[in-house]
Amino acid sequence: MDFTQTQEGAFLVLMVTGRMDTLTAPQFEAKCLACLEAGSKRLVVDLSSLEYISSAGLRSILSAAKKLKAAGGDLAFCALSGIVAEVFAVSGFNKLLPVLPTREQALARP
């Protein structure tokens, strides 16, 4: 699993590629916390290139989101597709966290 980060206005956009499974899931949380420590509280995660996500990945996302929220920030997701979108839908994560169809919409939030 690899990350590409770009600063877009108030948001830090994290592009995640690869698979988020039991082995790699902790990297995601660690990456989010590293961004938080670096001063970025508002993260937008672009999942368009994520191939697979397991329940461990969901847990990692949930944990990161809670920690960002506690720090006064937020964690949004955009551009989900395929099996990842399906997992988000089935698990109800769409309802728990801000999930938007495109990156522009994610960046356009107040």
Partner: protein, 672 residues
Amino acid sequence: MSLRVRGLALRLSALVLTAAGAVLLAIVLTTYFLAREALLHYAEINARNKAQALVNRIESVLTPIPAVVLGTVYDIEDLSPALSDADIYKRLRRVLRDNDALYGACLAFEPNGRRPGLQYFSPYVCRTPLGFKNMDLGGPNYRYHAMDWYQIPRELDRIVWSEPYYDDGGGEVLMSTCSVPFHRVVNGKREVAGIATADVSLEWLKRIVAGTSVLDTGYAFLITRNGTYVTHPAAGVAFNESIFSRAEEYGEAHLREIGKDMVRGRSNYVPLKSLHTGKEGFLVYAPLPSTGWSLGVFYPKDELLASVQGLALVTAALGGGGFLALAVLVWFIARGITLPLRRLTVAAREVAGGKLDTPLPELHARDEVRELAESFGNMQASLRDYIRDLTQATASRERMESELRIAHDIQMGILPKIFPPFPDRSELDLFASLTPAREVGGDFYDFFPCGEDQFCFLVGDVSGKGVPAAFYMAVAKTLIKAVAESANAGGARVTDYLPGGVVQAARRCTDPGHILTRANNDLAQDNESCMFVTIFCAVLDLKTGAVRYASAGHNPPVLLRAGKGPEYLPTRQEPVAGAMEGVVYTADTLTLAPGDALLLYTDGVTEAMNPAQELYGEARLLAQARALAGQEPKALCERLGEDVHAFAAGAEQSDDITMLVLSYLGPGANAG
């Protein structure tokens, strides 16, 4: 093993000794051949010198003789007519007296040379045991003018030495005669007037030559101008044979060539096989210039080389001794080098046999073997540590595994496992199975009556795997059942039908949405680990077949209508439980007709993977459900489990696999 070690010492020794042996052999051989060449070279010089010395010694006697004769000749030539016969005898006597080497002396005149009319005049004086004796050799009985000693010098008009001969009259003495012509002037013309001779005894010459000792079996010999042997070590050869006759007799062309060369008055040093002794050797020959004879000295080769062979023997003995000493030394060194290796090997074998505390041999030399021993010691220590750690780790792991096994038993124990669960209720049939991926897992299922004719059944899947998931699963399962059985506002007074037909009155909550909402709130509180659980929870009214259900982020179940194709039951896709407080879950309803069934499962089924990393998938599940339509719940679960197992084709199971099939059979006789 010890054989191989000895082999190393042996190989080392053999290698060194072979090289050293080759060097020694080369030295011995080179020394031998060089010394041999040098010795042969000096032997030749020595032989030539010795022969020349012998020649000189002989010549010192022979050379003055012609001069003596010449002295007499001059007297005669100057004074002849004036000298009386007595004067001539007197002079001859004086010559003998003054020259011990002479045996006799003679002045032989030409016919009419002394006096006209005198045919023979040859005054001769010789030594006898009684003193000098005068005589006249010539006469009708001894016509000396025809004799060789007279004829040859006269014709040649020069000094001539006769071939050696044995004097008949003088007592078997070996003699040679030196003849010198003297002249007179007749009518102004110089002509030969006669021959002056001096007889020389050659007995001394014979002694000198025969007495010349040449090593042990070498010898000297003398031949005349004709090649006739004057002296020869073999009896009967002297005077009887010539070098040419001997060459002819023995078929020795080489000897004949040597003979020719000798007779020509040359000197040389040539290899030759002696006909006398049969030995190989060298012949040195040199001429006696005054007489034209030739002296030969034979040197046997083996005796010449005896000292070289002695030297070679000494060298070989020294070399051999040195070689043996070297062999012993090398053997000890090789043993010395390999001994620590052998000791180390013995220790290594002990260590390999499991005695890790075996002391290694103490090595004092700072060499590779000691480095090896040190490395081996380090390895031994590491091995000891490793095995200790491994033992501890193994013990620890075994303890952990044992605990996990117990945990597995406990986890399986909290799942209902009696099928059919309510043999006395004919309204439903139900079967469930759970196959954990590891000893313990996060999947669970549950079913229990929750009020009059109400039957709750559910399937859950905790995020993650292993012990944390198992804990969370136990909490979630217990909590849901507690919520469902709690007597709160949402509950209704009902009668429980417990397994075994026990009937118990209680208040029950029969709304799955409410159950999930409350369970979620409890689970989400203080959920530091951010674990969550997906749950599908349903409550069936046994009388009507009405089902109320709610899903907390769980996979949609498969609805199997009797006589129709299977379909996924649409769910509201509400969030997983435990993630966030305050989520409200909504219950939906459907009605099961008798014969309809519901298949609940976890993602362990749809996300089962084969070795090609392909997922089992919802489509395949639906197809399999269609194929298995109409089967009893137990058979359906088992077939489906087999199909998933077959699909995985040996790939490691990555997630717990849980299935629950509830079949509604319709209101039974004891339903109400």
